[in-house]
């Protein structure tokens, strides 16, 4: 069985700059890491292979040429191989255009029974690409998977973490999953994995390698546009209230209650 794990290289949070003109992130000069939540998707895929449920785990990433490092890190963790999708034509893709290309790459690789995604990426924070890939491939998707109960002859039984509990769902394969942290702590790369990662060949695909329409790619293929970027008012003006006795405690509590009412919290 073959498992695809779409991963994204993201900037280490905290050191992010934006291009005010185009509204996209400036990635140069910022340390890039594998999206921490994608590591859980990789972990599940590798565990399923170890349990005999899969024999080929492929990491797929769309991004700039430097995202090849993300693929090598995935291989160091235990993936069998990886593919990088990289070309200027893909720049500025929103979640629709990203899902479109990743789905096309998965279709080209072929033979997948499972596509396992992280819950969301820590930069865009949308969580839309996993279900988007499923929709383009016309596959069922189970999001927020916290546990795999069983994998057998053409079906998978999983637990899905929702607001008020846990659903137990049985999905026909092939299917797309997005996983949450409860799936299990990601492993560190092994020495053997690192050696393999250094040597593995990472094919780089461009639009010419995929069955895609040019008009659906990149910024021009994206239905949405970022039109403005601004800093949220993070520097909060802390209103300090001194409490030294019963009366000032009462006063401070009244102020907090009034504040909560202003904020529609009470």
């Amino acid at each position: 069985m073959r498992i695809a794990v779409p991963i994204k290289q993201v900037p280490e949070t905290g050191a992010v700059k934006m291009d005010e003109a185009t509204g996209t992130m400036i990635r140069e000069g910022v340390e890039a890491i594998v999206n921490p939540l994608d590591l859980y998707g990789l972990e599940l895929a590798i565990r399923l292979r170890e349990a005999g449920g899969a024999d080929d785990v492929v990491a797929i990433s769309m991004g700039p040429p430097m995202a090849e490092r993300a693929i090598r890190e995935a291989v160091a963790m235990g993936c069998d191989r990886g593919v990088l999708i990289s070309d200027r034509a893909f720049a500025g893709s929103d979640t629709w255009a990203t899902s479109y290309v990743l789905a096309a790459a998965i279709r080209k690789l072929g033979g997948f029974e499972l596509v396992i995604c992280g819950e969301r990426a820590t930069d865009g924070d949308t969580g839309q690409v996993g279900p988007g890939i499923a929709s383009f491939l016309d596959l069922p998707v189970v999001t927020y998977v916290s546990k795999v109960r069983g994998l057998e002859a053409g079906r998978i039984i999983v637990e899905r973490l929702v607001e008020d509990g846990q659903e137990v769902l049985e999905a026909e394969l092939p299917a797309v999953l997005t996983v949450v942290k409860a799936i299990g702590d990601p492993r560190l790369p092994t020495l053997r994995g690192k050696q393999k990662a250094r040597k593995v060949e990472v094919p780089r695909w461009t639009p010419a390698d995929l069955d895609v329409e040019a008009e659906n790619l990149g910024l021009s293929g994206s239905p949405t546009r970022v039109v403005k970027i601004f800093r949220p008012t993070v520097a909060r003006e802390c209103e300090k209230l001194q409490v030294s006795d019963e009366a000032s405690a009462q006063g401070a509590a009244d102020r907090v209650v009034a504040f909560l009412r202003e904020k529609n919290l009470l």
Binding site: G14, G124, A171, R231
Partner: protein
């Protein structure tokens, strides 16, 4: 290219569970009403479910919907992406709404991207602000990104509909107006509602206030001095209907268990309100909670780092402050009924 003028009307998705409309479905009417009025168009609440109560449908109208678009089928009793997406995509193709808004819930965040792909719509997740561009009449969607470091305003120039998810509890449902008129329109679901996913069972959470999803978090820090003092924090949490969090100090000392830990080495939370009780505010803790919409901190040290990210900081003895605050909040809730 889509003819954007062909698309009219604002839709909000009213999620159902067990035949009842969920609270978020009423909340979204507040957002939808504002947009519909600015666009001079109708607000439609879309209900997909099974055996949905008439009273809840009427309440959607009383709280702001002009039309309730209802699709019922046995296959829609619980959320499964394929039948729900087939219904919603079908409704969108038939009626061509300009805007579709859903709650950023586990089902909304699954359904919307699945449908957006099918109908080639623009979709923006977790919007905190929605408005109409005075110039173009298009939807302006504002949302935080990169861990709340940046806010982005996004629009959808030509694709329609313009779709967005909004976090639950980020608005209040509009007031109920018993005299408000509207119509309930029943539509047939697509002929074949198939799903390759089957719901086997459901295990309700023992504690619904799981920290990550809680709207309000009350956290204890080393300032509580010993575990015997935890009830002070629990009582405040109970009054606010909040989940209880903790700093790493508190967890390391064994006063609360690891699932309560907030911070880089614990959980990242982004509730509507975070109350820090006796927490000094180490960077590693701040990183796990500073995107909360509102922050109230209580600490005896006027220079505590936690005050840097707080909206209101009470400088004082938490053993003096917490009981008074808890009582006032309780009283306020009783007065409100």
């Amino acid at each position: 290219m889509t003819d954007t003028d062909e698309y009219r009307g604002v839709w909000t998705i009213a999620e159902t569970a067990g035949g009842r409309v969920a609270r978020v479905g009423f909340e979204l009417l507040a957002r939808g009403r504002l947009l519909a009025e600015k666009r001079g168009t109708e607000l439609t609440a879309v209900v997909m479910g099974s055996g949905v109560g008439e009273e809840d449908l009427a309440e959607l109208i009383q709280r702001g919907a002009d039309v309730v678009l209802l699709v019922e089928a046995a296959e829609l009793e619980h959320f499964l992406v394929e039948p729900f997406a087939a219904c919603l995509a079908g409704l969108i193709r038939r009626h061509k709404p300009e805007i579709v808004i859903a709650g950023a819930t586990t089902s909304g965040r699954t359904l919307m991207p699945y449908v957006a792909v099918k109908v080639r719509a623009g979709l923006t997740a977790d919007c905190t602000g929605l408005d109409i561009d005075a110039e173009t009449g298009g939807l302006l969607q504002t949302r935080p990104a990169i861990g709340g470091n940046i806010m982005a305003t996004i629009k959808t120039p030509t694709a329609r509909p313009q779709m967005a998810t909004v976090r639950p509890r980020s608005t209040r449902p509009p007031e109920r107006d018993a005299g408000r008129k509207g119509k309930i329109v029943r539509e047939e679901p697509p002929a074949k509602l198939t799903s390759r996913v089957r719901r086997v069972e459901f295990i309700p959470a023992a504690d619904v206030h799981t920290l990550g999803e809680a709207d309000i978090v009350v956290s204890a820090g080393r300032g509580i001095k010993k575990s015997d003092n935890l009830p002070l924090v629990y009582k405040l949490a109970e009054a606010l209907d909040a989940a209880v969090g903790a700093s790493r100090d508190v967890v390391d000392r064994g006063w609360l268990s690891y699932p309560h830990q907030v911070g880089l080495s614990g959980k990242t939370v982004s509730p509507r309100l975070y109350v820090a009780c006796g927490i000094s505010g180490a960077i590693q803790h701040l990183a796990g909670m500073q995107t909360a919409e509102a922050i109230v901190a209580i600490n005896s040290d006027p220079d505590a780092q936690i005050f840097r990210v707080a909206d209101i900081g009470i400088v004082g003895d938490l053993f003096e402050v917490l009981p008074v605050l808890t009582e006032k909040i309780r009283q306020r809730k009783i007065d409100k009924g």
